[in-house]
Symmetry: C2
Subunit: 480 residues, 2 copies
């Protein structure tokens, strides 16, 4: 027989542990830059040599953890796909950025970081660039975000209406959109060149407003803030134009730093710093558009800096893969820590799931590695030995420990991809520019590293990838 007292005690226990759990769920702010090289922020040796000091970005690193070996996929869409799903983009049919008008992006069957967090009680807001679908069922608010303001695609589209030939092309103009979970997003305004310098201001304001609203609620929040900076064209907000004295790039760097500072200040002023994981990173390495390659003005012919690493976005070299990463979580992550352990954007899904008490899907392959203990400083090793490096849907090579295996060669961001007759090997610590093939005498290395690729390929055979542009976003892939 159960007494009323027992029932009451049990009920109290349930309530208590449920409250304790809610308190345990930290807010998450994820600032995700666009085409922002490893060498840009002061905390990676950039800052003033790039045109502007970045004291607020540096503050995140100083007050938290800086990862010098944080890796992504090498193009916008694949990188965002991997971030959102914890899976190699190839699995989700998102191996490349969409260049045509076709259907692309995440199918509904995928479980995004926003869905995972939403399922355990998070309020989820996204402010910025999606690039994972612009058609019904594939918008952010179809994929776990309670609200969204931003652009479905990418920022080059902001130039379209000002370019000759576009008006008569029949290609649809892109819109800035706004949406709420449960209904179709609405078009706010065309995304044109006039709005390009202004959009990140609005994204910041909306993120701040979201945080303020949520701070007084019971729910923890997840803010995903994929800025449109620093994708071309390089156009700082009028408030920042001319302010660095070092050209548009310096102005933009100053702007980014200032906006991130506002976000940090908001978190601090709301008194939620200790309950908020604040992450600053980027989708892939920098652009390099020389004046010979673009019809934009010379001022916008920028050469984003990957720092010491080779090449730019859209390549398999380190400059594309390694991006800035700093995370702050006062009281949980030791201030001023730095690590060169290999971490991949895919790892954020299972890691944040563990921290937030979220569920990692067990009915599909998750490539991300759960590394909360590493993040919190309880372990010095990340647990990741390496990963497969894709260039689009091609396997470019493998990164394994401090080594890189190249199967292919690529010159320039849009250069020809050529296959070597034998893999080449590079020591990343010795040779950050991947110049000097040391296969001889390191012929032991493929033996050690290739297992990673073999396993990956076997897994792809067992669980075939979703077809790129599968027409029905609601249909799960068929696995044998």
């Amino acid at each position: 027989m159960i007494s009323l007292k027992t029932v009451f005690a049990t009920l109290m226990l349930c309530l208590t542990s449920s409250v304790a759990l809610a308190q345990d769920k930290p807010n998450i702010v994820l600032v995700f830059m666009d085409n922002f090289g490893w060498g840009e922020p002061g905390f990676n040796g950039g800052g003033i040599i790039r045109g502007a000091a970045t004291p607020r970005l540096d503050q995140i690193a100083a007050e938290g953890l800086r990862l010098t070996n944080f890796n992504v996929e090498v193009q916008c869409t694949p990188s965002r796909s991997a971030l959102m799903t914890g899976r190699y983009a190839i699995r989700s049919g998102n191996g490349t950025v969409p260049l045509g008008e076709g259907v692309y992006g995440l199918v509904q069957w995928e479980v995004t970081m926003a869905e995972m967090l939403s399922d355990v009680g998070y309020a989820t807001g996204m402010f910025g660039k999606w690039h994972l679908g612009r058609t019904k069922g594939r918008f952010p608010t179809d994929q776990g975000f309670d609200e969204w303001y931003g652009i479905p695609n990418s920022t080059d589209e902001s130039t379209y209406s000002s370019l000759p030939g576009f008006a008569e092309s029949g290609v649809a103009e892109t819109y800035v959109m706004e949406g709420r979970k449960g209904s179709a997003p609405r078009k706010v305004r065309p995304y044109r060149i006039e709005y390009r310098p202004l959009i990140d201001r609005d994204l910041t304001d909306r993120a701040i407003s979201f945080m303020k609203r949520q701070a007084s609620s019971d729910k923890p929040f997840f803010v995903y803030l994929p800025y449109t900076a620093t994708h071309f064209p390089t156009m700082p907000h009028p408030e920042f134009e001319g302010k660095s004295g070092n050209g548009l790039w310096g102005d933009l760097l100053m702007q980014i730093d200032s906006y991130v500072g506002e976000l940090l200040d908001t978190v601090d002023d709301l008194g939620i710093a200790k309950e908020t994981i604040f992450i600053f990173t980027a989708d892939n390495g920098p652009e390099s558009l020389s004046s010979g390659e673009t019809s934009l003005t010379v001022e916008t012919a920028i050469h984003g800096s990957a720092g010491p690493w080779r090449s730019t976005l859209f390549s398999g070299y380190e400059g594309a893969l390694r991006v800035p990463f700093a995370v702050r979580w006062p009281g949980k992550i030791k201030a001023g820590r730095e690590s060169d352990e290999i971490v991949h954007a895919m790892d954020l899904f299972p890691t944040l799931a563990r921290i937030a008490g979220g569920k990692v899907p067990d009915d599909r392959v998750i490539d991300g590695i759960e590394m909360s203990e590493f993040l919190l400083g309880k372990r010095s090793k990340s647990g990741r030995e390496g990963f497969v490096v894709y260039m689009g849907n091609d396997v470019f090579g493998i990164k394994w420990r401090n080594w890189k295996l190249h199967f292919k060669e690529q010159k320039g961001w849009n250069g020809v991809l050529r296959e070597y007759t034998m893999p080449r090997i590079y020591n990343l610590m010795n040779d950050p520019r991947e110049n000097d093939n040391v296969l001889f005498p390191h012929t032991w290395l493929p033996k050690a590293a290739l297992g990673l690729l073999t396993e990956h390929v076997a897994s792809l055979r067992k669980y075939p990838p979703i077809t790129a542009g599968a027409l029905d976003p609601y249909k799960p892939p068929k696995y044998p």
Copy 2:
């Protein structure tokens, strides 16, 4: 009539002001690395990505001033000549490193930093590599240093006796030497491969011992510590070999950091931190010896890192010119300051002269700019707009503000130097890898920058350079 009281009072005044003056002269420790790229130390975004954290180097920057645009000449001998004299190396006949056995280096007529400081009461000790003369009258102890322990030339010579063909060549072996002002230095031991990993330990010990001896004396001291690291071959001390877990380069980085830490600790433990200017910098950009270019083992086929900058030593690109620089002077230089103002190694002579109350020679051209107020934070501008970039005795180009004019092209550290038919222009902040010629539309730039070269050439015509390898080191050059 003068009373005894007046005489006494005057005498006291003189004594007081002399004492005050002596106290005003800070000690100077100048750590000067060999072929050590901008991207190596943690304070420039290197450290762990290069194989080892550099907490002690970073400490200098954190407690003092980091210059991100500190420039040198692009080869060992020219850079050391400019550092010691405050003059372009070309003026002193030291435009290139000596490859033959001939006479080279500084003539006696030159006034070195050590002589300048010695003349105003400094005890001057040098521990390390000279590379400014190996013949009578040209050793460090002929050029202002009270004492010297080190090597007259460079570290590649440590490999000679272990290489086939050398024994029968008739080329003289190099010795580690020791000297005192006023007598010829003596040979201590041959500089062979066995001693190569050990020498920097001895240099550190001797520098520490010198500082300890001098700290209890009335005289201020000048320690010039041109380490043999990181010139090839890359051979860390046995105490550090294998210690980083990241190969020889990581071990060596760890060693450098540890040795510099010992020097800092010595200064701190002696209680003279506030009276000591502690500088860490290097002679020129990094080596890049690929396995295809050297017969050394693969482990020593290193690619030093210039960080984001183009190319290596022995070129006119930023990777050769820009080196790490951090200076600490507690109480005088604000902690954590950083500046991207252009500073050149030549500027240290007149700047340190001003700080130490030394005399800058007025009977010759001094190209260095006195910038003590900049160093001490009283001005934000260094006062240097640019300088002429030499590759050997050739003018490679001009650096002016954040721009570079290339007159020549050079591929690889020992590549062919080819002249352009028209100068090319690069925006260093926008384009750190000097990839994208923006002469059009920036045709205003040569008009602004070329004055610097015109003036320099006029000055060379008026005051012809000393002939390289002038046979009599004691003979002043003949000026018209």
